[in-house]
Point group: C2
Chain length 148, copies 2
DNA sequence: AATAATTCCCACCAATATTATAGGAATTAT
DNA sequence: ATAATTCCTATAATATTGGTGGGAATTATT
């Protein structure tokens, strides 16, 4: 049930954008550098996020990307769905697509449904703002430990 | 975060074995037929489960597989870990392997840890016996509906 | 007007994982 | 002996992952 690097890099980029919210745009060069990945690859991730309406862009020199909504109005579920297509652990739990033909007599489906529910519960109740706050306090502690 | 077909077929096979617990062994032909997959493929799945000590085998004619413990003493987490290697959504949440070098200053890791905890909570508290019971009542309802 | 910085778009690619299939050796009940 | 079975290993097609690269379009700056 691994998440792909799309989710890994993409979500962290969104947190970076959250920390920068209200302070103009960030370029892909900027965002990519922070994570040590190529600009090209990050561009593709951002493209998915933009398509999903989560970020807005400004083209041309001094352009870049910013969140389309405040960080406390974007939850992690949205972000991961944009990056990964869905958060589904199994096709048969999807709310949108078709379900397996023997769903009515499948011994595993109730488990998949419960698991999916718990996963989405975590993802949909955590906002980018939550992550940013956690991150800041974490950095504080980290810096203090380094000083010693 | 999709689970593979190994998890899908393998877990259902384990439920089949649960329903048969106490009544001798089941052959791969038997188990494979129920799910409409090839014997060869199911053999490989069972091999993982056997390696993990979850099923025992009897070779030769009239041989087959059975659970090594009662269904209420095997939880879904064990089964999926045997089939998939781990249930981890991200390498950095693993209890066994190495964690990413900048874990101390990662904006996403707290989320991954929380998500993993919720997932394992579901998987480790659900036993094969639970699934079998659910399945039986489900089949009952299904049969009644069919009769009409 | 020229230039540099940037998003945007698309084609391509290598490595890896997934999802199997096939064949035969070893074992055992009948 | 024979038939039924587990066990083991090799192979292969397909899909996914994780990228790279090039260039067109747009815009601020000089």
């Amino acid at each position: 049930m691994k998440l792909s690097t799309k989710a890994r890099y993409g979500l962290k980029a969104m947190v970076d954008l959250s920390m920068n919210f209200g302070g103009g745009h960030m370029s892909t060069a900027n965002l990519a550098q922070q994570q040590g990945i190529s600009e090209s690859y990050l561009e593709q991730l951002i493209a998915s996020l933009k398509k999903a309406g989560l970020v807005t862009s400004v083209r041309g020199a001094q352009g870049g990307y910013s969140l389309s909504r405040p960080p406390d109005e974007i939850n992690v579920g949205e972000v991961l769905r944009a990056l990964e297509g869905s958060t589904d652990v199994m096709n048969c739990v999807s709310s949108t697509s078709v379900i397996c033909s023997n769903a009515c007599s499948c011994s595993a489906r109730p488990l998949w449904l419960k698991l999916q529910q718990r996963i989405d519960e975590v993802l949909d109740t955590t906002t980018l703002a939550d992550m940013a706050v956690d991150y800041k306090t974490q950095l504080n502690r980290f810096d203090k430990a380094e000083e010693e």
